[in-house]
Symmetry: D2
Subunit: 341 residues, 4 copies
């Protein structure tokens, strides 16, 4: 029996429109390293969303997008402020430190979201040569807890950042889930809210592989091409990342996929709430659910469903939905859970 | 008019059997990061060629394969001996130094091939704390000049390396072209010849993207999974790299593709040799031709064909053939060249 | 008027016996980079304390000692567990991350001291390729708060470390203050307690400049000479660091200097305790005092005495005594403080 | 018997005026990390030579001066052009690559000196993202072969550098020997010739330890304090480096010491030239002599004199004189050599 996937949106496969786009991009030889028409077209697609000045670059994966973005913004003696739950802190095996040489300055949060108040203390030693110098605030949208920043919250962080000569970076591995949930266009909570550089996720929203680094502050992109190459993130047959993005950004496929994943999470959360002994621990705003389950059911559930135990001690699990999650799978999960309880 | 490609084997698209394999791998959700059946199957394919002990890991691109391999073999105070023409020296934007911290020790060669005699002088300061300590010899097969190491030449380097406590790494971005030309199985000029770690190329032989790092000395792989992740080379939907390799390594597709590219190079070279004013400058053993053309024809040819001028001063160009190069394209190139001369 | 120093033990000058030793080491030419008799002699002095197997290397400064030690113990994908108050975290401008590539995993503590219970949670993701892999626990003795680990506390950490294949590093920038206060020989709370590598401080105990890296687990030193050189910590005229250590380790000068500094701290603390409105916030066990002073006196006091405000919000200051702190200076401080209050 | 030193100018001890200055700097406590009067005074001394705009920083050693300078000038994807014989290439155990992440681009030279013609080819791939981007030219004055750049030669390199948006760095580990030999003030062949950043050597000219980084293009120093600290080159008791420089730059001690070393080299070279079977291989312009000796005498000579065999195959040795080389030692060397021949 194949287990159903509530483990991660990267367990999902590739949306068929994206596969089709790959197929069509394969019609002939084409210049490598992004000198082709497919790449030019995909960049234009991004600029429809983010404006003509946006500098757009494709990379292989989310860690690559984050780390090369941060490399473009920092010297090694500078520091990156982020939530203690950030992907760059917990899930990139130290790639940010290795590649940028910079320290991450952490803030503990309940919901994975930073506020100016949270992070002000990290600026106490600005100008002190013994201490790393903060240069970037990095936030995730949606967060690793499936929560969302509202536009005003991002603006407050951007204002704070820019007042203190910091840049504001967004890890948008799940940016489409955020946009779909907020019912906003990308630009409203990124460029217009003051984000300087954005990691725009594709893989978790139905692509095969590929992410984009979008410089909304275009002057920061001046040397990025070299950083990307030196960071081993330059694809030779780049058209095959570009073509995926072209499909994703056509006919609102990105929104369709993300909205579906979000809807499945809402459905699942609403059902979970009705089950005695189950406690949802984080606000469900995108496609992730964090919930405490009775200890004895977790192992049994994992025989039929892929999902992660987030906190062994608290019996907290993470359930993630995807563009291809079926309503029937959600129902099956609930049925099984009720049976076990 | 679309220009014909003699620029690089990475201008070529994706072989249809590989596209088909991608399509088939997309049938359902599957564990991420290599915990899936497609990845397991592809690793088994590799082991059919390289033996059961081979430790096989998939990465995104050739620079990633080379640099993560070398990271697994070195400390930052150690050094990597390579040809001055090596891809790791000329074409990776300093990624080896950035990621490993190590210095590359160069040897000038005519044909891109190292010999023990060439490199012995780099060992003069072993044990001297002021000087980097050689730890790896890295060779390319086929070389960046399209030339080949014979088995005995590799064995001589491996013996030399191991006598001096060095490892022997092979950049096999075009290993299939080498195997096809040498009419050998991979293992005969890698594992059996003493190679410790191999970057096994897929992209330049008809894949969409993806390379493999193959540890033939399996003890060297102990920590490689962390190096790969920290180096941003861990694909989340890894099955889509694995599935490409499965196709490439099935029914000798790798050999079919590479042999075709090689044959087209031979055809082109043989025709070039008959043209007055054209001099072939490197032995044509795989799918690259280096040739001096009359200066006045180069620019005109570039209007219809993609290719690189290798040496402006000498009017030396590089012509590269691919799995999808057509005989008609070769003929067209020759006709056009003769016309221009 | 020259301000009196309660800022740091590195505001103090050089003990005259150490200056004399420098003078005597200057009698002739001598091999550079440690190949001289002064260096050999100083290493022997260390071995009298730490045993014949100890591998001893001299470096320029404390950050150099810590970072090169940690470099010898880690790969970049590994992590270093330390207190949030550790010098390597707060006061080395990110040198550990820059040089080792490793992440620091922090634990908040009141007294600057780690326990196995504190840090056990950092081992939850051992074996998970997405997360850095802990490899070293680094403790400071005395701590940055002037507190001390008892022998049993160090042994407990060493046992924990070794059970989990971790190394235990000690930042001993003020190790002499610790030894003097604990009335122990160095070896009792380092080698015998299970420390693997030690940064042995000289500068803060009356030397001009110079620290030692002492490998108590000598196999870890195999490649250290290259790490030291590549980390720019190899002194050419090394005899002039060595000669300082020879003096420091002769006739218990180290203990004499440290005990004096400690005694001055005790004297100062005892007087402070009697002053209304003054609260000592950390246990005074070595040569540092942390105290909350009435806000209005701090600025006035700083006109006559150098000291640091540790926490602006809490009006907490740090007062540090040195080998050359005079009893009269302590009294003057107390008199002035009482006057201001 | 103590061997006489012709090995290196860092085998020499400390000039007595410098020791005296250290003694005098030890009169009291003083702020650490350069916030003291001794440091301020030494910086003023430098500005007497290099102008009021010069930004001056003290570090521990020559490798530290070079690497932190180069770090201030480069991003990791950029490259540093230098002679194949440069100290940064041969004698710093890869510290430049490790700390800057940058590649060194080498030029083979007979005399250790670069010219614009030599290095122009390194600019062929400017703008090509696959290749490192040259950003600095680094020259040594005097060179590792004891040769000198004339002012016009430096100006030519500076013009070339600045035309191509490169910086010009000088490794002046032996800058005093150069100035004394050229009979110029420092500024004439550095600032006025177009040098951007200078590593100013102290240790090899009679100091105990310490070098200075002098930014003649002061805007390049903006972040240097953090680079120095993160590179572990910030001395806590900095006054004891500063005081040495104050002495060196007072009453032309630097020139006195260097001129003496140079004179001893000239004396030795002139004598060597008269001995049959001895060939001087490099122009003797500062305090180094490279000479081919009869093979059978080398080992015997090394029983009584420290010196390095530079090239085993050619029987070429390096003889280095110092501020404390005695005329009698030179004569003794010649007598012994003649006896052995």
């Amino acid at each position: 029996m194949i287990k159903k996937n509530f483990a991660s949106d990267n367990y999902a496969g590739v949306h068929e429109a994206i596969l089709q786009s790959l197929y069509e991009a394969n019609n002939d030889s084409a210049p490598a390293y992004g000198g082709d028409q497919h790449t030019a077209k995909a960049i234009e697609k991004f600029r429809e969303y983010f404006g003509k000045d946006a500098q757009v670059f494709f990379v292989f994966n989310g860690t690559g997008a984050n780390v090369t973005s941060l490399s473009a913004l920092t010297h090694s003696y500078q520091a990156i402020i982020c939530a203690a739950s950030a992907h760059i802190q917990l899930d990139e095996c130290g790639a940010p430190e290795k590649l940028t040489g910079s320290k991450l300055l952490l803030t503990q949060t309940e919901d994975g979201k930073l506020t100016p108040e949270h992070i002000a203390h990290h600026l106490q030693r600005v100008g002190d040569q013994h201490h790393v110098q903060p240069k970037v605030i990095s936030i995730s949208q949606s967060t690793e807890y499936g929560t969302l920043y509202q536009v005003e919250e991002i603006k407050a962080l951007a204002d704070f950042a820019h007042q203190h000569q910091l840049y504001l970076h967004m890890d948008g591995a799940r940016i489409s889930n955020a946009a779909a949930s907020l019912q906003l266009n990308f630009t409203e909570f990124t460029k217009e809210a003051g984000i300087d550089v954005l990691s725009f996720g594709g893989t978790k929203n139905g692509m095969m592989m590929g992410e984009a680094v979008v410089f909304l502050n275009p002057s920061l992109a001046n040397h990025y091409q070299y950083i990307r190459k030196q960071s081993m993130q330059l694809a030779s047959k780049m058209r095959f990342i570009a073509a995926q993005f072209s499909a994703l950004l056509t006919n609102d496929l990105w929104r369709h996929n993300a909205a579906h994943a979000n809807a499945m999470a809402t459905l699942l959360a609403n059902s979970l709430k009705t089950i005695p002994g189950v406690t949802i621990t984080k606000k469900v705003e995108a496609n992730a659910i964090f919930a405490i389950l009775p200890r004895h059911v977790i192992h049994a559930l994992q025989q039929r469903f892929h999902f992660y135990v987030w906190n062994e001690i608290k019996n907290e699990v993470r359930l993630m939905t995807s563009f291809n999650t079926l309503e029937a799978e959600v129902e099956e999960f609930i049925v099984e859970l009720k049976k076990l309880i």
